[in-house]
């Protein structure tokens, strides 16, 4: 069995927690969120030499992409096999998922990293390989769209103000 690199070992608990939280907020399913967190961390580990300096934003970007993909697959599957009526879903999460699908790809990434993962703008910029200004503009537009979509007004919206 391959030995875990010491620097990765140190950051692992925090990386795991944040990756799992992000996946869970988006998907709301424990098993799926845990699996995606592991996958994201494995991909981060694979590129550790390159991404060690901004490991958290990188791992969160990966887990975000994986979660959105999973959501898309699930959405597709639901068309074929509707979710049983007994399954309960948090209405806020349903709104968030719907809103995420409405956002353009770039804005969606920025919004998730900035407001779901709570990363500072500089780290979002590092994760996405763009400037802080770009992050600001995408975040602002994405937020405006989210405000429009997340109706009726919920507690989450108040927090954006």
């Amino acid at each position: 069995m391959e030995q875990i690199r010491p620097d990765f070992e140190t950051e692992f608990p925090e990386l795991h927690r944040r990756a799992y939280d992000t996946a869970f907020v988006i998907l709301g399913q424990r098993t799926e969120a845990e699996d995606l967190a592991l996958e994201a961390l494995a991909r981060t580990y694979l590129r550790w030499d390159k991404v060690a300096d901004y490991a958290t934003p990188f791992a969160l970007r990966v887990v975000t992409n994986l979660a959105i993909d999973s959501l898309r697959r699930e959405k597709l599957a639901r068309r074929i096999l509707p979710r049983p009526e007994s399954a309960e879903e948090n209405p806020d999460r349903v709104d968030l998922q719907r809103a995420l699908f409405e956002l353009p790809r770039r804005q969606r990434r920025v919004v998730v990293l900035r407001y779901v993962c709570d990363l500072p703008e500089s780290e979002v910029a590092a994760a996405l390989g763009c400037s802080v200004g770009t992050v600001k503009s995408h975040a602002s537009r994405g937020l405006a769209t989210l405000r429009r979509l997340l109706t009726p007004v919920r507690e989450t919206e108040k927090e954006f103000r």
Binding site: M1, E2, I4, E9, F12, P13, H16, R17, Y20, D21, F24, V25, G28, R30, A33, E34, L38, E39, L41, A42, R43, Y45, L46, N90, D92, R93, L96, Y115, V116, C117, D118, E155, T156, E159, F160
Partner: protein, 237 residues
Amino acid sequence: MKFQHLLDPDPPRPTDETRHAVVSRAGRLRRQRKFARAVSAIACSLAVVLTLVLLLQPSSSPSRLFKLGPPYRISVTLSAKTFPLSTYPDAPIYPPPVLVGASDDWSGCPALLGVVASVRPQAQLVARLLDQLGRDKLSALKASDPSYWPIILEGNWARFQDVSPGRLLIMSAAQSGYVSLLGRCSPATVRDTWVAKTCPGPSLKPASETCSRDPALAGQVFLIDRHGHWLVDFTYP
């Protein structure tokens, strides 16, 4: 986190098992990527080799439909008035025409030698044939039956260039309404001849509509199938 209320109240704690699962997945991903890179390299090499092979192949041979087998020479250079049968090449695809009547007006019919009562030719095939007919004199000779050659050699043959398959209507000679143009040719000739109408275009409207709206702008191309080779034996106008 802005979505605090959506967090899992009891998130899993990472254990040693989780760590090892991550490293093991990373190893699997690494192997998968190596394999994908190897496959991609092989595919690229094959593509390069295939491209080189295709590029280096001689491209002089025309499409199979028009390939004549041995390189028959077509060297008739006489005018319509003096067009003795002896000048026709000795090729099974191009037998001398049947001369009907003897006058200054050309009245040759295609010989029925090797002509088969073929199925309706496809529009793409006819479009290619018309393209060949419109290219130059030698191509036109190759694309046509010897009964049409005097017209080509006088330089007055019809050139239907850039006719797209969608502008063609193909029907039997009897259905075309132009059967009388086959004149004194035999009933068998009429039976085995197909007519391709070239309808005016380009247009979004179907060929049948533009042909019936502007019949004067439509062209008629008469075709026969000899030994599997489609040949133009008459055109109008």
